[in-house]
Amino acid sequence: MVRHTLVMRALLAAGLALALTPVSAQDKAAPEKPIKIGIVTFLSGAAAGPFGVPARNGAEVIVEAINAGKVPAPYAGIGLAGAPIEVSFVDEAGGTTKQVNEFRNLVQRDNVDAVVGYISSGDCLAVAPVAEELKRLTIFFDCGTPRIFEDASYKYLFRTGATATIDNTAAALYVMEMKPQLKTVAAINQNYAWGQDSWNDFEAAIKVLKPDVKIGTSQMPKLLAGQYGAEISALLTSDADVVHSSFWGGDAEALILQGAPRGLFKKSTVVMTAGEPTLVRLGTQVPEGTVIGARGPFNVFAPDTELNKWFRKVYEERYAVAPSYPAYKMAQALLGLKAAFDKAQAANGGKRPNQDQVIAAFENLTFEGPGGPVAMSLGKGHQAVQGTAYGTVKHEGGKVTVTNVKRYPASRITPPDGVKSEEWIKSGFKTAK
């Protein structure tokens, strides 16, 4: 665990402000006890570079700005309900058993006020019942499995990122808009829950939209396999118009590095539902014509709001690289937490709210993130819905960008509350408009 110094900086800033404040004002405002937050994200292993580290970086800039009261409107005030945030970072690597132990350590040993974290759906599924058992406010910021709030309901648990359902329903809609004459689809996904669920959702969605579509081949290599020579040959032989892939991290980069020289990206339109971080990492190595998703309206798909412009600026100034979607999603989670605390404080007559008051404020909350508005409207007000966007990679002046961007509102790509994603897709996107 890495103890963070952000709180020290905040306390120093607060101390300096205090020293410069007239005595009468000091009498009124006693320093608030910090709110301790455990942030769990991959700091080692294969998921650290593409996801974990951008998420940690996103947390650092947002926490620092919240503590300094520098987050632009609609946010105001210092800290969470006036109290500075004290952050502890925990590495998500190591598997579900370790993560459950780490969660217990955060709550029972370190006595954190809230836990924000988890990229892996497996970790989310393992931690969710423990959060409920220990009765501690927990916010999942990234993991995609819809099962969390479709299979159970929780009081202490929230998820501020949309489920993976939106990735594949929107991808199918985008593909049909771009290629209405589509005949054959092929796929390459990692052989574990994420890859299998992504392909199942996409296959079901595309079959709803184009019932006579043929499935060329569905490749399921092992996670972190790294070498896709035979798979690329199989995809090339399938003569598919579209190749669906939910590859992430090094696997996504390897698929591009091996597939592009062999002409895969020219022969078929490759749709990479979680491909946006590869734009940041590989730049123009990502071939033109690749369809890219960012698991929400993030980075290249983010709206032109003051909040987004500010977030990009502070992130790029510090890390000299654009924030990829995990950074956005972490910022979204922390800003959601601030919105809930501030709302609860207002409802509590300006006094610091307790956990139950924060939970009540968080339920069904609508708040603003750098990716745009987020509505906590599923899972009895605990699960966020958000629109998303897809675009096609284009090279411009030696830089990579996206063109043909299509935006999909949440109502078009998300099932209604109480309906399971899988059934909803198979029944034909009944809320689709």
Partner: protein, 298 residues
């Protein structure tokens, strides 16, 4: 149905990769009776060094074809630095101990090296993609393949032939074979066993790093890439017979072809196919295809 030619080509390319990573492992086991768990980390080290050097090479605007020499240089550099350091600094104090102790020692080296890699390169991915597409494509069986992949097959063949020649035709090779057959008698006959171990481990390290360096242009060099490799390499050498050079070659070809056929014809079982082959071989020949209970070979 995908052409048989594609299955064969994909299988052979993958076999070449498997052979390069497995041959060092089997060499070290054959001579030193060490199941070197650190092999995966040494492979990763080769990949990281190659990615760094190739990246710097292209950033410097130097002749792109020179990058191929850098890949080989990376392997030699890692072999000459990490090999002696691990063998002289740690393993030589463990000789004569139980095989399981040495396995645990190399596992600890594996863990240390994983952290050393993170310490030096961080958790970001590195790529040295330029050499992969540099030589263009060739059309085989109606599908485009990179010339680089053909190069990989040639390197694997050269490594196999060179090792066979060294072991069977040179004095050093014969000394090594003597140590494989009986370490004590070899020592009694005046062979400097310590030196043979030193050279073998350095060569094995170099081969691990060569695997990493050659694969670096095809993949994203990321943390934990060595873990995947060590599992595959063990599967190959177990099928072929631990310590057997022809066994490693045959094991690599079998695994490569089976995996390729699975990907083309029955992708759902691809994950399982390698281990199915391993299980079937071990049922028929528990010590692997090229290993016997009496004679240990390389």
């Amino acid at each position: 149905m995908a052409g048989l030619v594609s299955v064969l080509i994909d299988g052979i390319v993958y076999s070449s990769y498997l052979f390069i990573i497995a041959v060092g492992l089997t060499l070290i086991y054959g001579v030193m009776k060490i199941l070197n768990m650190a092999h995966g980390s040494l492979y990763a080290l080769g990949a990281y060094v190659a990615a760094t050097l190739v990246g710097a090479w292209f950033n410097g605007g130097l002749n792109p074809y020179g990058s191929f020499a850098l890949l080989a240089l990376s392997a030699i550099a890692v072999g000459l630095v990490a090999g002696p350091l691990i063998e002289r600094g740690l393993l030589r104090f463990m000789y004569g101990k139980d095989e399981i102790v040495l396995l645990l020692v190399t596992y600890s080296v594996f863990l240390i090296l994983e952290d050393v890699i993170t310490l030096i390169w961080g958790v970001e991915s590195y790529s040295a993609y330029q050499p992969y597409g540099l030589l263009g494509n060739i059309d085989l069986g109606g599908l485009p393949y990179t010339v680089y992949d053909a190069l990989l097959v040639i390197v694997a063949l050269l490594v196999g032939v060179a090792l066979t020649l060294v072991l069977t035709r040179t004095r050093h090779g014969k000394l090594l074979l003597a140590v494989i057959h009986d370490r004590e008698v070899s020592a009694a006959m005046g062979i400097n066993v310590g030196r043979v171990y030193f050279v073998t481990f350095t060569l094995g390290t170099m081969l691990a790093a060569l695997g990493g360096a050659l694969i670096a242009p095809k993949v994203s060099v990321v943390p934990a890439m060595g873990v995947e490799v060590i599992v595959l390499a063990f599967a190959v050498v177990v099928i072929g017979g631990l310590g057997s050079l022809p066994g490693a070659a045959l094991g690599a070809v079998i695994v490569g072809l089976v995996r390729s056929a699975a990907v083309h014809y029955w992708p759902e079982v691809e994950l399982f196919s390698i281990y199915l082959v391993m299980a079937l071989v071990l049922i028929a020949r528990p010590r692997g295809l090229f290993s016997t209970a009496e004679a240990r070979k390389i």
